[in-house]
Assembly symmetry: C2
Homo-oligomer: 347 residues x 2
């Protein structure tokens, strides 16, 4: 029987609760495929217990999977031992960089039965293609005279033609399969070197895709459109930091961050891609069985679609749609949502 | 008679139309003060005509004013001669840096009669204190092998204890006069050096202001709160780029970018402060007398309040409030809005 070797990093807070439901949905949706699940105890709790964030041997093991499902990582933000984003950088970003997850795919679609915070949301259905391995995320910074009145702290955003082009190409190919509209978001009137590079590459790749309508927005203006007229967007391509900001906002206007799924893709397949809800570990509601697992379940659907099991992914997606059709945004226990979706997958 | 020496940079697009109304409002509101207005023809149009953006002699002249009122600068974004943000950087950012406008003050208050794009906006009344002279705006970037497949483009964000502390102090003092709640917005789990500096300084200044409740949000999470629960904010203090992004979004949720005023402050008074609407030059609607001048008029009110004429500023603000009370968000010609506000100031 065909196998799908899945690494599961349930992580912290609500991570374990929501990945449990996502795994049930995957098992129900896969047909004639053996799901081989290996759990990796990683995250803030693991670090506080063992002092390890992600050792090389574990990284090597993770590598030998078809895909990774991640719940959420990060502990109590008030815990000084976790300051400086040590878990986020040492685990989440380390995986994105080590496995060259250069496409961070973040779709937003407002289900008609879900309330948006927007009065008149219109038809929200777009995808953000966020670059995942460059920009201000490279960790190229430092501080002099730290903690003194003469401190100077720098952060350098690094952007390469190689790194930008592959993401831009991915975005254009996606636009070809969708509504053929692509928006570059940057801040090229201020970040002229990075922005100039992005714009030049978008222009060059656009010339190969004359059927895709291309425009440009400054990141500040893009946030206005996300609340005033989100239907203007089809595919957004943007850098790592702007993509981070825009996709939280997109999640909020697109039915809530409890619905927002994401994939950290290595499209070549050289390394496993990693799928995770956009939301965080939400320590305030952890352990109370009230977290909405839908974003994790939709991340599992993305995972299946990008691991050669598009039908199984579609089954999960249809079940989620039907569930939201029936229940709208009613709050239910985590496992009740999971039960309802698994039932629908099975029928 | 007391004088207020005002430099006016009407600029491009709708800039001249909206500053005209702002100047009428100032003249009507000032009592026993002579308003000495000097117009400076600067902006994209001026640059295309003369090849000059801002020469040193003009900068020196501008310096000898009590305040600067700016409309909007920037021409047709499709004009290749204006690419690379040449006007924005050479004029707007040059003024902010040359006149050490380190506090970029951007209040948002949703008038009850104005529609917000949010279904349930609640009580929106907060101020963003955006740092104005550091961060990714310093122009510390470059590109190697530009335009080749091996291009690398870097942008460096520069942050100093000196630069951050003065803005943070300003924000705490503002919070003392308001609802005593201050939120630092950054991305300290990724930009650890810059974010660490900001957090350390906020912690240190917070210790001197035990009556101010302080919290922290990552910039991505802050955008969610701006649409889900904007009433949670009172004073936001943040860096130059995050402030740029958040204040466009804030303008949109707070009654529209047509209401959003700003002040680029040099609180020491060593250089003139500069006041401008948050909106841009909107070339698409320029010359049609349909631009809403309210943001420019409210910027004039801010200007008066920060130039020793708080009563005149208050008169403008009250007139704008009364005008919105009476008319809501009805669209009117630019000069009709100006007329209505001037009439109310006079009575
Ligand atoms: C946790 C954090 C490092 C991460 C990011 O900034 O990429 C998160 O916000 C996300 O969007 O996945
Ligand atoms: C025009 C641009 C350089 C400017 C900025 O980024 O500061 C504008 O967006 C603003 O917010 O005042």
């Amino acid at each position: 029987m065909q196998q799908l070797r899945l690494a599961v990093i349930a992580g912290d807070g609500i991570g374990p609760e929501v990945t449990l439901e996502a795994r049930r949905a995957m098992r129900a949706a896969l047909d004639g495929v053996e799901l081989v699940e290996t759990e990796y105890a990683l995250g803030a709790a693991h670090y506080l217990e063992t002092g390890e964030i992600l050792d090389d041997a574990t990284l090597e093991q993770l590598r030998h999977h078809d895909a990774i499902l991640l719940g959420a990582v990060g502990g109590d933000p008030a815990d000084a031992r976790l300051a400086g984003g040590i878990i986020e950088r040492g685990l989440l970003l380390r995986l994105r960089f080590a496995f060259d997850h250069h496409v961070n795919l973040r779709p937003t679609r407002l289900h008609p039965k879900l309330a948006s915070p927007l009065r008149d949301p219109g038809d929200i259905d777009f995808v953000v293609v966020r670059e995942g391995t460059e920009g201000p995320y490279v960790g190229n910074g430092g501080s002099l005279r730290t903690g003194t009145p003469h401190e100077i702290a720098n952060e350098t955003s690094v952007n390469t033609a190689f790194g930008v082009e592959r993401v831009v190409r991915f975005a254009f190919e996606l636009a070809e399969q969708r509504d053929r509209r692509l928006t570059l978001v940057h801040k090229k009137n201020v970040l002229v070197h990075a922005g100039g590079l992005w714009q030049r590459i978008v222009d060059a790749v656009a010339a190969e895709h004359p059927d895709v309508a291309v425009d440009y927005l400054h990141v500040d203006a893009a946030t206005i459109f996300l609340v005033d007229r989100p239907s203007r967007f089809d595919v957004i391509v943007t850098d790592n930091l702007f993509g981070d900001i825009l996709t939280d906002l997109a999640g909020a206007v697109g039915g809530g961050i409890g619905m927002a799924a994401s994939g950290n893709l290595n499209p070549s397949g050289e390394f496993p891609s990693m799928f995770e809800p956009v939301h965080g570990s939400a320590p305030d509601i952890a352990g109370r069985a009230i977290a909405d697992p839908t974003a994790a379940i939709l991340s599992a659907a993305l995972l299946l679609e990008h691991s050669g099991h598009p039908d199984a992914g579609r089954r999960i997606r249809d079940a989620v749609d039907a569930d939201v059709d029936a229940r709208g945004g009613a709050s239910r226990a985590t496992h009740e949502v999971g039960d309802a979706i698994v039932d629908r997958i099975r029928t």
